[in-house]
Amino acid sequence: MKKLINKPEDVVKEELEGMVLAYPSMVKVSLEPKFVYRADAPVQGKVALISGGGSGHEPMHGGFVGKGMLDAACTGEVFTSPTPDQMLEAAKKVNGGAGILYIVKNYTGDVMNFEMAADLARSEGMKVQNILIDDDVAVKDSLWTAGRRGVGTTVIAEKITGAGAEKRYDLTKVADLCRRVNANGRSMGLALTSCTVPAAGKPTFELGDDEIEMGIGIHGEPGRTRMKMKSADELTEMLALSIIEDGDYSRTVHEWDEKKGEWVDVTLVNKAFKAGDQVIAFVNGMGGTPAIELQIIYRKLHEVCEKKGLKIARNLIGSYITSLEMQGASITLVRADQEMLELWDAPVKTPGLRWGI
């Protein structure tokens, strides 16, 4: 294993130390417990957006803390969900009195830890909602699995929801908005190489010289199938069609019912894409993918969308939700209405995403 790190156990701590030196006008960090938060937190009267997850996906989530996006990001060890105490302390730090939205990627660990955190934060008098992101179409059924993973739509949701919160949407409205972005988002990814978790010291899996993993998540785990390498156009088409031709997706998730004061099971349905939809298209590199390849993928994605009658209204191209140094890419499409597009265009100033200011 060759990495530009010191000790594996110090990777996350030292990253945070670097961030606060690099972006003092945007973020501050807490090291015990670990989280990144807005330099101007708490923003009074604004719903506080908190996300988090394992490290190794940078710039997500720490790089998305700042004006117009997240108020705080809890960083776990590499590929390991953070813990409820981090999430609670982050909530206390950024609580502006208008409630907390936890944006949670749907992984068993993340879900359980954020639910525990929400219970703890509520016991301290905060209003809290947890909204799941579960957009990975590589996971087919929700009954036979832990449900779809949260991947690329997370970035889009954090941007749009962040802009809504900045406009002083209340907690219900921000939570609804986040749920809506998720309900309209779908993703699919592939890997050309594995990655090496620093503490593990060797690649999570081995791939032959002409093999790829199709349908991967973002934790360096193997995908749904291993297949022979194909051209960028063929692979892009496979990813895009998996997303575009995915049918309605229904599953039951845990949400907090503020009126009843308890966790309830809610059944949510993502409606399939149809011709005429306008979308935000996101081509994401997995960390080790050269930028030039992402443009080649976007070129084909644009063609496939056009053929299927989807209009790309906005796009994002870059390595924003990564698996360390993995080579590969994912595609995310989010059907967007006018309000979502306006919030997408709103100014954002974070280490990882910036425009308008």
Binding site: P33, G54, G76, E77, V78, F79, T80, S81, P82, T83, P84, D85, Y107, T108, G109, M112, N113, M116, A138, V139, K140, W144, T145, A146, R149, V197, A199, A200, T204, F205, G217, H219, G220, E221, P222, R224, T225
Partner: protein
Amino acid sequence: MPASVGDVVRWLSKMIDVIHENKEYLTELDSAIGDADHGINMDRGFQAIAKKLPELGNMTDIGAILKACGMTLITTVGGASGPLYGTAFLQAGTALVGKQELEPADLLIAGEAALKGIVMRGKANLGDKTMVDALTPAMAALKEALAAGANAAEALEKASAAAETGMKGTIPVQARKGRASYLGERSIGHQDPGATSSFLLVRTMAEIADEVGF
């Protein structure tokens, strides 16, 4: 002879060692069908318990000791196994609050509370290829052996054997919970890392019970 606080500390300290020795093994199992961190996660948690062990050894309430372990796991392990094992220790501790020594029957009370906590949190069914597949038969075997008049060491030995069988039983099964479920049929043929760590913990309990004559 009932188990003392000292015996509980011996249990914990052997668990710490066993998890540490199996750190790479558990991580390797998790590489195949997960994200290559289960051993790392567990070891981080148990090492955190190790740091608190002297302090825990000075406490007299076994329930409180186990609850403290649960909180430590919850705040240090992360991932899926953190809340699950953390809740297990918390619930076991809650079931034993106030006890300064343990009778064999207390093992069952604590063990069942722990398992219930895991199922409450993770909602896994038997056969989903999780730690539940090791712990459910282990608790059944423990119950049966105690009912048949076995002492703690003997009963835990049966529980350990049942956990091992349950653990091996995860191999031919397709995962339906946790990260391994994303692999679909590709998860078949691999042993579940969480079931493995559960077996290791139960086996450790049996070994120490035998050593201390519980």
